[in-house]
């Protein structure tokens, strides 16, 4: 690579760290038309995500939904495919120069010692490599060689040599037929120019060795949760069946120890790692599914499933899966010499010690910042917080301490995947706003006009690629060519060596011209590998790329039947025959596009809605902001201080000012939504203003309709003025209410209107609010005694430190069970609360000058709105997302997004992130001049359609409608995603799909069987 020449400019973005947050930021910015460099220090991108094959709360994978343009492959692969993203794997940042808007970043590209272009992954080198070490992936349970593939699906999909363990014996060089290995490869330096930098450094698991008392590293059957995750993954050596490490026997009785390296100042980890309760619960569920009869016990302090739908998940773990949770402190873990079983002694809440034996113990390790982060942060001038994670302002969660450097995901602190996806998007929004003045001019490639191919008689050219001799090991190319000659309409057959490389592509191009070929069949590797270069070649010469067919004789034949050359060749022949059959029938596809209405409609002017509006406007789009009240602000108006000490009122004023002053935002007050129409390519919403109706056309819709505090129905609320909610208390504290000065004893009851039958979810914010108000109350009135009656204290993340502080300041926390709820009594005009204290084993009675109820959060009634906009609500009345894991703010229909309290209970900070994120996702859509339709659209043969409407019901995207006049079904092309489900639903064969029509599929089927 030529040194000294800088790539990228002020309009591009550099994303450092290719985990979930980084990949999400990169994909969104790339979709917005920015050039993105995605740098990763490891040899493959993906972060920790490839370790997980099932994630909570769905117990599925679902990460493919993360792409801003669904349906899509896994984000790892999408990043690799995206034209605007350039991957810089196995690279490190050396120096950052310049300032926000104009960074110059020197990076070092570490040597892989294997040329990915030449390596065919035959693995001959792996066989001869004499060095065997622990594989990092999965926590060292498995072995790898010094030359290895980081994990099976790794991108870049190429081997790498680990220089720390390689002995340079040279055996691999000798074994490598294509000569891809070069042990003298040197590192390369390069300079990248970028207007903005986005950080997705992520986290590292806590080193379990530091908590030596649990025996990790000494006792074989004590594992970390990272190792256990690998063990129960279907791609593990046991295919996910959990076996003991010491003897490979089936696990029967296992224990999870929670909070290892979390909530534990003794090992320098005072924060809660937020997700361990959930990931461990998931692991337990999956393990139980894989190994029936497995017994699982949790030892924990508090259970913290405070994300959307997590409480139900936890309840299912207990009721459906029979997982046992014991609130306790671990006293000791001992190994029994004979059996290598583990003996756990623990102290229960009631002060009694108990013992139990397990065959394996899993330590739910917490999360720390990446090890080398101090140096990296120092080099950039970045401030870190006390725990070593990235410091951010509460109300600017995507902004680091350095202008132009943004952050999202676990580098801000441990968080789950949905939040990471939100924050990766939020960082992209903040970066997009920041970069807006530096308009990018993405190099749009111009292609020649296509010839009118398709209608003539097929002239098929078949090219059989042997992949650098690799396929010849198990296939007889001679026979294949002979067989192909017999196929109808094949006019040219040729053997090529590496169809993906320019020489062979040129050759194919030449043959197309020479023989007038109008259909191409490439028999070789999977279409997923070769499609991109082939299509580029085709487009470059005006050949419709949809006239190329692929016969997968490599991944799905030669590689998997290595020792059966005869049968493999026979099968390859059938695969070619099927591809030729397809080629005979496919038609060219010229994708249509729909003009984008570059306007966003935001419903709700609270913190989330205002934030979303601003980010959209800053990206250059018009925004209509609809508010049903007379003024902006929503719940923010009733918020006066936060736990972290910020002032929501100044945020409120700031947001209102900015919204009102932004020339592209049009606020509508006292306005209601009365109608909504889907047009091809955009939406049309009818609103009712005090002075009449109006219709607004827009390309994206963001719903931010907010929520409210639940009105308590119990504990004398509304009957005695001394019984108030946290929100009322906050206002009294803010106004320095005289009455509070006389309070001797205040009692707070948690989970009022949360985690009960009516509201079976956790409201996430109430524990934090209680701690916040308790501390403030103490601050104003030192002598007041404050009691907090709780079920679990859910001060997740860094909020844990405030919980710690509250206990230090003498605030008393007493736990209660749902079965033994506190009771409030009114005697001689005095309120008192009686509660069963599990630590004492008896009831205690607490005087209450004020009784403060931590009332939960519920969404505003969105039923009408959901119907109008054709979006779904979950059973709790919150809007339902396309995928709870990786598309948490998207609706299934394209162009509709949710944020703020109408999505889930949130802190202000979360609502801001969500507002940002929804604006990024909407922005990715609005940034296009036109949205391209999908290739394989459904269509209707009107003559055959009877107007039964079955296809309309079946379509998940609302892309089908019944034309009432003609009584025929129609397809809205801009919404059709090309799944083909409607084709099956049709009884008359009227519903068809381009290049997947029934006749075609049946013909291919014929070719498969004969």
């Amino acid at each position: 690579m030529a040194q000294g020449k800088m790539r990228g400019d002020k309009s591009s973005a550099l994303v450092i760290g290719a985990g979930i947050a980084g990949m999400q930021s990169a994909l969104l910015l790339a979709e917005m038309g920015r050039k993105v460099f995605l740098l990763e220090q490891g040899p493959a991108i993906g972060g920790y995500f490839p370790l997980l094959d099932k994630t909570f709360p769905t117990n599925s994978c679902g990460v493919c939904f993360m792409s801003p343009t669904p349906p899509a492959f896994c984000p790892i692969y999408e990043c690799h495919l995206h034209d605007n993203i350039e991957l810089l794997p196995y690279s490190e940042v050396k120096k950052v120069e310049g300032t926000g808007g104009d960074f110059r970043v020197s990076i070092v590209r570490k040597p892989r010692f294997v040329d990915p272009k030449r390596c065919t992954l035959c693995e001959a080198c792996i066989k001869v490599c004499p060095v065997e070490v622990e594989r990092e992936f999965g926590g060292g349970l498995e072995k790898r060689k010094a030359i290895y593939l980081p994990y099976p699906q790794a991108i870049p999909h190429s081997l790498v040599i680990d220089p720390r363990t390689c002995t340079r014996c040279g055996e691999c060089v000798k074994a490598c037929a294509p000569g891809a290995i070069d042990l003298d490869m040197k590192e390369e330096e390069e300079e990248i120019g970028a207007g903005a930098i986005l950080l997705g450094f992520g986290f590292e698991p806590f080193l379990a060795q530091k908590k030596g008392e649990y025996g990790f590293g000494r006792y074989e059957n004590v594992l970390t949760s990272v190792q256990f995750e690998r063990l129960i993954s279907t791609s593990s050596p046991t295919q996910g069946f959990p076996v003991r490490v010491s003897d490979g026997k089936k696990m029967e009785k296992i224990a999870f120890i929670q909070c290892v390296g979390s909530r534990d100042p003794s090992c320098g980890q005072d924060h809660c790692s937020t997700i361990c309760c959930m990931y461990a619960t998931k692991q337990a569920m999956i393990a139980k599914e894989r190994a029936s009869g497995l017994n699982v016990t949790f030892f924990y302090m508090d259970i913290r499933p405070m994300g959307k739908d997590y409480e139900r998940y936890y309840e299912r773990a207990k009721s459906e899966y029979g997982i046992e949770y014991i609130r306790s402190a671990i006293s000791s873990v001992k190994e029994l010499q004979q059996t290598k079983n583990l003996f756990i002694t623990y102290l229960k809440e009631d002060g009694i010690f108990e013992e139990r034996e397990f065959d394996s113990v899993i330590l739910s390790v917490g999360f720390t910042p990446p090890q080398n982060i101090k140096d990296i942060a120092g080099g950039m001038g970045l401030l870190l917080n006390q725990q070593g994670f990235c410091q951010t302002d509460e109300f600017h969660p995507a902004q680091t301490s350095v202008e132009g450097i943004f952050v999202g995901g676990a580098f801000r602190g441990p968080r789950d995947i949905p939040e990471t996806v939100v924050e990766g998007s939020s960082a992209a929004a903040a970066a997009a706003s920041f970069l807006a003045p530096n308009a990018s001019s993405p190099s749009r490639k111009e292609y020649p006009m296509e010839g009118a191919l398709g209608e003539e008689i097929p002239k098929i050219g078949v090219f059989i690629c042997h992949c650098g001799e690799e396929l010849k090991k198990s296939l007889s190319l001679f026979d294949l060519i002979l067989g192909t000659k017999l196929l109808r309409e094949v006019v040219h057959i040729e053997e090529v060596g590496l169809a993906c490389l320019p020489e062979d592509l040129d050759l194919i191009k030449k043959r197309i011209g020479e023989h007038g070929l109008n259909r191409i069949v490439i028999a070789g590797c999977s279409h997923r590998e070769i499609r991109k270069p082939m299509e580029e070649m085709a487009k470059g010469m005006g050949f419709n790329p949809y006239l190329i067919e692929y016969a997968n004789i490599r991944e799905q034949c030669a590689f998997v039947h290595r020792d059966l050359p005869e049968l493999a060749t026979e099968k390859a022949m059938v695969l070619i025959r099927m591809a030729v059959e397809r080629a005979r029938r496919i038609q060219p596809i010229r994708k249509g596009s729909q003009k984008v209405e570059k306007r966003g409609l935001v419903v709700g002017g609270g913190v989330a809605g205002m934030t979303a509006s601003l980010r959209l406007a800053e990206q250059g789009y018009e925004v209509c902001l609809i508010e049903k009240e007379r003024e902006l602000g929503g719940n923010l108006r009733d918020s006066f201080y936060t736990l972290r000490g910020s002032n929501p009122q100044s945020l409120l004023q700031d947001l209102i000012q900015k919204v009102k002053n932004h020339p592209s935002i049009r606020p509508y007050f006292e306005t209601e939504i009365i109608g909504f129409e889907k047009r091809n390519g955009h939406y049309k919403t009818k609103i009712l203003r005090p002075d009449g109706e109006e219709s607004l056309e827009h390309g994206a819709l963001i719903l931010a309709t907010g929520g409210r505090e639940v009105v308590p129905k119990e504990y004398l609320y509304g009957k005695d003025p001394r019984v108030i909610t946290q929100r009322q208390l906050e206002k009294m504290i803010h106004l320095k209410d005289e009455g509070l000065k006389e309070v001797r004893s205040a009692v707070m009851i948690q989970c009022v209107g949360s985690r009960d039958e009516e509201h079976p979810y956790c409201s996430r914010i109430c524990c934090g609010h209680a701690v916040k108000n308790a501390l403030k109350l103490k601050e104003q009135n030192h002598s007041a005694q404050v009691y907090v009656l709780y079920r679990d204290v859910r001060t997740y993340g860094f909020y844990e430190t405030y919980y710690h502080e509250a206990r230090g300041k003498g605030i008393v926390f007493i736990r209660y069970d749902l079965e033994k709820k506190p009771e409030v009594a009114l005697e001689n005009g005095r309120l008192s609360v009686s509660v069963f204290d599990p630590a004492m084993g008896s009831r205690v009675s607490l005087p209450a000058d004020r009784l403060i109820l931590s009332a939960g959060v519920e969404p505003n009634d969105n039923r009408d709105l959901a119907k109008i906009f054709d979006v779904d609500l979950n059973p709790d009345g919150f809007f339902m997302e396309a995928n709870p894991k990786s598309a948490p703010l998207d609706s299934v229909d394209r162009g509709k997004f949710f944020c703020g309290l109408c999505h889930s209970p949130n802190f202000i900070e979360d609502s801001i992130s969500q507002g940002n994120a929804s604006a990024a996702r909407a922005g990715a859509l609005l940034s296009k001049e036109a949205v391209e339709e999908k290739a394989y659209l459904a269509n209707v043969i009107k003559r055959l359609c009877c107007g039964c409407g079955l296809c309309v019901t079946v379509c998940p995207y609302g892309a089908r409608a019944l034309n009432e006049e003609e009584v025929k079904a129609e397809v809205m092309e801009s919404l059709c995603q090309g799944c083909g489900n409607c084709v099956v639903a049709c009884r008359n064969g009227a519903s068809q799909q381009r290049n997947f029509d029934k006749a075609l599929n049946l013909a291919v089927l014929d070719a498969a069987i004969d």
Binding site: P50, D53, T58, S60, C61, G62, C64, F65, P70, P71, A72, F73, C74, L121, E123, P152, Q153, H157, T234, S235, Q239, S526, R528, N552, E555, Q556, C557, F559, V560, H561, R562, D563, L564, L567, A568, E570, K571, V574, L575, M578, N883, V892, V954, P956, Q977, G978, C979, G980, N981, V983, V984, Q993, F996, K998, N1001, L1002, V1004, L1005, A1008, I1009
Partner: protein
Amino acid sequence: MSEFEPRIVAFLCHWCTYTGADLAGTTRQQYPPSIRVIHLMCSGAVDSIYVLKALIDGADGVLIGGCHPGDCHYQTGNYKARRRLAILKGILNQMGFTEDRVLLKWISASEGKLFADTVTKMTNDLKKMGPNPMKQLWNA
């Protein structure tokens, strides 16, 4: 007579199972060459007609591969496939096919080994079941 080699027709969805089958290849998982893959966008696009035709034409088994529940790239295609197959199996039984000749399996893009094992197991099961009785009809 040489050993009976079953023929399986597989309909794999574009996003998960087809990719999983590719991964079986890149990781060199070995399985019998009994299977012929037809690539569709979603398991919900597999028409019962295709399954029936495959069996009538003499395929010994039909495999339908889709994304795991909750992971279908078109939301619910896999659930539709599951429901449809449940009904079809009833019909197949009445037609005298063993319903076990048709298998619906969720295989994700990372489950290359599972794909290989599925084909291996299905092939072995079909060997035990013997050839598709339809074939004799054709040859009669």
